[in-house]
């Protein structure tokens, strides 16, 4: 059983229908599900005994839209507005669970309680403790689950130094990726004598493939706000900023609602809860620059300037925003603070590994069965995360690599699967913890192309201030472009390693220093793929379009027309009973045909461009005994 309380068990004794309305489910129109269920509930005159409410993300986005019934914990997956009558009926005193909407396990058996779903069994929710269980737009929902209790405790019973001490003792390291001990940062900011001081929440989550911070803000904005107020009290600051990407409009909307509600309850503003401590919070929207996730760049951006990192020292705890002491932490760090205060530093420090305490939140995505948001104790192995929680790879394909840490991280191969995940072990293996993106790839993903993808990203996002990053990433990208286009030369791999070394050593900020990681880690673990591209002009994964063609094996084709219909550019020739042919000169290599060809036939194969076999004559019929029925 996962260790999370059941926050929705509210004292009014009502049962609740919780409808996820975080970005994933909302894009499948889960708001319409709520409207439909509300209508049904009022028709059945159940409104007095049943709450219908929107919630944030319960995590298993792949199965969305998700509807939870509490207190029972019944989990309905892939719900549609048409299912509203059945769900409403189930809430009648003699109502039955809607079996067809339950999540079905690997054995095909329905699982009734969400806590028994394999995806959740091994998880431990601290940051995500309320996500999917409370209405993020209602402060009372948060208060009902001990919300703002930590703030009350801090203001009433603890001196600021004690708060810093407690956070230090918990061992929590910054959840933004670098893993600097949060307590130490607070202590240094507190020690600084200049005034005023600032608290900043870094919600500029820019890593492609990462959505932990977005989900937390959309699902439980008050916990982040509470953590920030406590930080303000601890370091002696009266002003905070939340810097959020403009690409997260829903998170911004819910934060604004939450700020207003907290102000209305006297939890923000002057003389909070009569304690004499005052704190105000403002939202700053980013304007589309990845580098602003770097602390000093972010602070320049809040000042309204170009967000370019500066040389350190001085560190921002001494000279940050407007040249004044500033403590900047990640969304997940702030979200953990109220729990640390309420349950104690010792409890928190007992979770995870000695040097990486607590839990890690990951956005698990890519070629994995259960895409979604997870939170696990530090020290869990990659294998447990990917196979036990993630359910393994889509279509039972072979695991090839997992990419952690986004553009600053690296790719780890199958041999690293038993690595316990924490800040230090990932570093040693050549990747990083990062802020929590975890992208799983299978045999169809080319590692050279993946490295090229990340370098294209960092090259574009380099702010241009320092030469190693500005010119270095350009040079590396140029080489990777050549290799994936089949124009690689002997010596390219060595050159990549050399450039990578210079960029890592010579760059000013974390963006540049870590930019070569995707290249260096793929060379380290998948050197043979680079060599195949360069020496044999072949992409082993069949992903590099310049090196790969699609070919229909005439022996296997049953002329079922699926690929013919899926092709967006009419590059498949053929008709019923007529063997299909890919017209190579028209083909754009989008792979649509490859994806739709029934696994029963597997007629479409990827072949190196230089080895495309001669197709049969157009109009060749499928031999009678093999003719398709569909």
């Amino acid at each position: 059983m996962p260790d999370h309380e059941n926050p929705s068990e509210q004292s009014d004794g009502k049962r609740s229908i919780l409808i996820c309305q975080a970005l994933g489910c909302l894009s499948s129109h889960s708001d319409r599900i709520q409207t439909a269920i509300e209508a049904e509930i009022s028709q059945l005159e159940l409104a007095d005994s049943v709450n219908v409410k929107l919630t944030g993300c319960p995590g298993l986005c792949q199965e969305g839209p998700i509807v939870l019934i509490e207190p029972e914990g019944t989990f309905y997956a892939r719900v549609k507005p048409e299912d509203a009558p059945d769900i409403a009926q189930s809430m009648l005193p003699d109502g039955q669970v809607v079996e067809r909407l339950l999540y079905h396990g690997d054995d095909g058996q329905p699982i009734r309680n969400y806590a028994d779903i394999p995806y959740y069994v091994k998880q431990q929710h601290i940051v995500l403790r309320n996500c999917g269980h409370i209405n993020p737009e209602e402060i009372d929902d948060y208060i009902a689950v001990s919300g703002y209790e930590a703030l009350k405790k801090v203001l009433a019973d603890m001196a600021p130094e004690q708060v810093v001490e407690e956070v230090t003792k918990s061992g929590i390291r910054g959840r933004g990726g670098a893993g600097f001990p949060a307590g130490r940062k607070w202590a240094e900011a507190r020690k600084s004598t200049k005034e005023p001081k600032y608290v900043i929440c870094n919600a500029d989550e820019g890593d492609p493939g990462a959505f932990m911070d977005r989900s937390t803000l959309e699902s439980d904005p008050h916990t982040v706000i509470e953590g920030m107020i406590i930080a303000g009290y601890a370091i002696g600051s009266d002003t905070g900023y939340i810097y959020v990407r403009a690409e997260y409009p829903l998170a911004i909307k819910r934060l604004k609602i939450a700020l207003k509600q907290a102000e209305g309850r006297g939890l923000l503003g002057d003389n909070i809860l009569g304690s004499g401590f005052s704190f105000t919070l403002q939202i700053r929207e980013g304007a589309g620059a990845f580098v602003c996730g770097e602390a000093s760049a972010l602070m320049y951006s809040i000042e309204g300037k170009r967000g370019m990192p500066r040389v350190k020292p001085p560190r921002s705890v001494e000279s940050g925003l407007w040249g004044l002491p500033t403590s900047l932490n990640n969304v997940k760090t702030f979200a953990s603070v109220p729990v640390i205060i309420l349950r104690g530093a010792d409890w928190y420090a007992g979770i995870g590994t000695p040097n990486s305490t607590g839990t890690a939140v990951f956005a698990l995505t890519g070629k994995i069965v259960n895409s979604g948001l997870i939170e696990v104790p530090m020290g869990m192995t990659l294998r447990e995360i990917i196979f036990d929680i993630g359910g393994g790879l889509i279509g039972g394909k072979e695991f090839k690599a997992v990419q952690t840490g986004g553009p600053s991280g690296g790719c780890l191969p199958a041999s690293a699967l038993d690595l316990p995940v924490d800040f230090d072990s990932l570093n040693e293996a050549g990747s990083i913890m990062g802020s929590g993106g975890m992208v799983v790839v299978d045999e169809d993903t080319c590692m050279v192309d993946l490295a090229r993808y990340f370098l294209e990203f960092t090259q574009e996002e380099s702010c241009g201030k320092c030469v190693p990053c500005r010119i270095g990433t350009e040079l590396v990208l140029e080489i990777l472009d050549r290799i994936t286009n089949g124009e690689g030369k002997p010596g390219d791999i060595e050159l990549l390693e050399e450039y990578g070394d210079v960029i890592a050593k010579g760059s000013l900020c974390g963006l540049g220093k870590s930019a070569p990681n995707p290249v260096l880690s793929t060379i380290k673990y998948f050197r043979d793929e680079y060599e195949a591209h360069i020496n044999e002009k072949r992409c082993p994964a069949g992903a590099c379009r310049a090196l790969t063609s699609f070919y229909i094996n005439p022996e296997a084709c049953r002329a079922c027309m699926l690929c013919f219909e899926s092709c967006p550019v009419e590059a498949v020739d053929g008709w019923l009973r007529t063997i299909h042919i890919v017209l190579q000169e028209k083909c754009i290599k989008c792979g649509s045909c490859y994806d739709v060809c029934p696994s029963l036939y597997n007629a479409i194969v990827k072949v190196p461009v230089i080895e495309v076999p001669q197709p049969p004559m157009p109009g060749t019929k499928v031999p009678r005994k093999k003719r398709s029925k569909c």
Partner: protein, 156 residues
């Protein structure tokens, strides 16, 4: 232009560090940042126009040319990339016959890419205006735009 902006700029007069917020506000109002607006902002905030240009060119959100009625944003995040987002983008370009950051001549559509919209579980994903579309394939693109245009006809 001046009149249109005066009210908008009023609350920010005399405040420090508001350049980005002001540019966001003006762009929200006008759809883009025309030259005259930039001059007007510079005068109001008492900042040289060159500095404002510096900020505009640094952040990808800011545009100095008008955009189409509908914004097609294609996610280029990692999850979308490994699940074939590149091919989806290519197909959209072919369908609308424009490149990234370009607008169709009839000012209907603009194609943009975004680093990650955070809908990784729906990869490959794209957004048209406010609507998110997940699990896209190149094959789904032509029909999507047909449906989009028809939907509009019904609204009218």
């Amino acid at each position: 232009m001046e009149n249109q902006l005066t009210n908008l700029l009023a609350p920010y007069m005399g405040q420090k560090g508001v350049t980005i917020q002001v540019l966001q506000k003006v762009q929200e109002e006008l759809g883009y940042l025309p030259r005259e607006a930039i001059d007007e902002i510079a005068r109001s905030l008492r900042i040289p126009p060159s500095e404002i240009f510096g900020v505009i060119s640094f952040y990808s959100q800011f545009r100095t040319t008008p955009r189409g009625k509908h914004i097609v944003r294609v996610c280029r995040g990692t999850a979308c990339h490994v699940r074939g987002g590149g091919a989806v983008l290519d197909q959209i370009k072919r369908e609308l016959n424009i490149e990234e950051n370009e607008t169709t001549p009839d000012l209907e559509y603009t194609i943009e890419t975004v680093a990650c919209i955070g809908a990784c579980a729906l990869a490959p994903a794209m957004v048209i205006d406010e609507d998110t579309f997940g699990q896209m394939t190149p094959g789904k693109i032509p029909n999507l735009f047909v449906a989009q245009k028809q939907g509009e006809g019904q609204d009218a």
